[in-house]
Amino acid sequence: MTLTRKICGLAGALVAGLAIAHPAFAADMVKAPDAAAMAGMVNKGDVAWMLVCSALVLMMSIPGLALFYGGLVRSKNMLSVCMQVFMIVSVAGLMWCSWGYSIAFTSGGDNHFFGGLSKAFLKGVDGTTMGATFSNNLYLPELVFVVFQMTFAMITPALIVGAFAERIKFSSLMVFVVLWSTFIYYPMAHMVWYWAGPDFLADAPTDAGLLWSWGALDFAGGTVVHINAGIAGLVGAIMIGKRIGYPKEPMPPHSLVMTMIGASLLWVGWFGFNAGSNLEANGVTGVAFINTMVATCAAAVSWALIEQFHHGKASMLGAASGAVAGLVAITPAAGYAAPMTSIVLGFVVSPICYLFVAKVKGMLGYDDSLDVFGVHCIGGIVGAIATGIVAAPSLGGQGVFDYTVFPAAFHPEAYDIGAQVFIQVKAVLFTLVWSGVGSAILFFIIDKTMGLRVPADDEQQGLDLTSHGERAYNS
């Protein structure tokens, strides 16, 4: 059962349950428990909560993201976007069991970029094996962790499709998703989220992913999910080229009602994403939950206010965009911030994203159809850097635990905002380069072999009919 020992926790973060902070319990702690001991360290409440969260995160992709994006395209491309998201989710699930989980969440030994293939096809993973949480001597059944993380591997590549919607060739997209997940996403998840676990790190202090070792904080996926997907989208949008007619022809969204429904489903599902990323059902989970709620409220309000001042009218699309920007920004900070600092973060992120989607995109002339870069990448960068600030205990933040000792220690006075922000910036830059360069190479190879784009005729007729042989609305 040695396979079960080193499961990463999510969130590179050092958030632990109350038990470890309480010296009275410390004496009873078992360092490096064996499989039999781990089996007695499972909490049914955690298991139930994490299964619900996994389903919530699936709901973010389908139908949430599919409708959010689908409403924004022209009606002739509605099904193509829905189908792209639906198929990416399905293919990503198969890949995750086959090799994704193993690459992301097994030890790479001295290599801190990606794990091995020892758990490929879920070898040795069954209902009795356990995964670590953020608390000493508290475990989660490994398959629950596998399926929770699977939903992240599903939504991340699906986020990218918005950047080159309405012109991408379906088969090429699917090949891209397989390669991108394998060479960009799984290593990225490994670098940020893999670590030996709270009961094992003290004996193996270097057994963690690269960014985790730097001390980068990413509670639920600011770097791994949003910056990663956002920069891949921008690179794709530039390499595939603009839609025919952009920006001269009007390309208004075909149904902002769908976009509003999609954004709302994303908001609800995001509680599974952010609060679930604590891997337990405890006080920090509650912190992540309320932070997710209020940061999103603030960002929706601040986007609406900007539009009110700038155009004289606050739009539904603006409110939905602001909500998503807020959700993105709070993602890396969810379990570290306090509610009031989350609100500040929400207020700040919308104007920055607004600047990118409404001004910078037009000035630079790239056609990021649905603003994947402007909302997810920029929002992710703002959130990732701000995490270094809002996590500070002096600002009411949750601080970080020291897992290099057993049991984990907590020294709120040792938190250094400047040093942490520096690490966060380093993590952001690393992600931009890793995913930006990697995606460019993949897009280049596919463009030269299969072609990335549909023929001009097909694009004008719409991808629903020409790629999928069906129409979204028959009346």
């Binding site: 920006p247 009007p250 969204p253 155009h311 739009s315 699309l317 965009s321 989607v357 409404a358």
Partner: protein
């Protein structure tokens, strides 16, 4: 026989229909149309991208009546559809060569 074709504001349709039924008009054809005249279209803004739509939605009402009724039809549409604002629409009157009731084969004014 005359064909009276009126392009009006959508929300005036009910007023026009009531005015015409009170004149004894027994039927009309209504279609949703788009177009432009002196009235400027709306500006739509999606995440900062501005589209000025210069086509404005309107309703087209078509009535065929006998020559004697035509001036009163025109007058009642003009009154009923008038809101005093730009974009109230236009009325056109055309000569009609023939009318046939498909069910019976009746022709001319009896077919109306």
């Amino acid at each position: 026989m005359k064909l009276v074709m009126a392009i009006i504001k959508p929300f005036k349709l009910d007023d026009v229909r009531e005015a015409l039924t009170s004149l004894g008009i027994a039927g009309m054809t209504v279609s949703e149309v788009k177009g432009f005249g002196r009235q400027k279209g709306q500006t739509e803004i999606y995440r900062g991208a501005e589209y000025s739509t210069n086509m404005v939605p309107k309703i087209k009402v078509e009535i065929v009546c006998d020559d004697g009724l035509a001036p009163r039809v025109v007058e009642s549409i003009q009154q009923a559809a008038n809101s005093g604002a730009i974009g109230d629409g236009k009325i056109f009157v055309l000569d009609v060569g023939q009318a046939v009731r498909i069910r019976t084969g009746e022709t001319g004014e009896t077919a109306l």
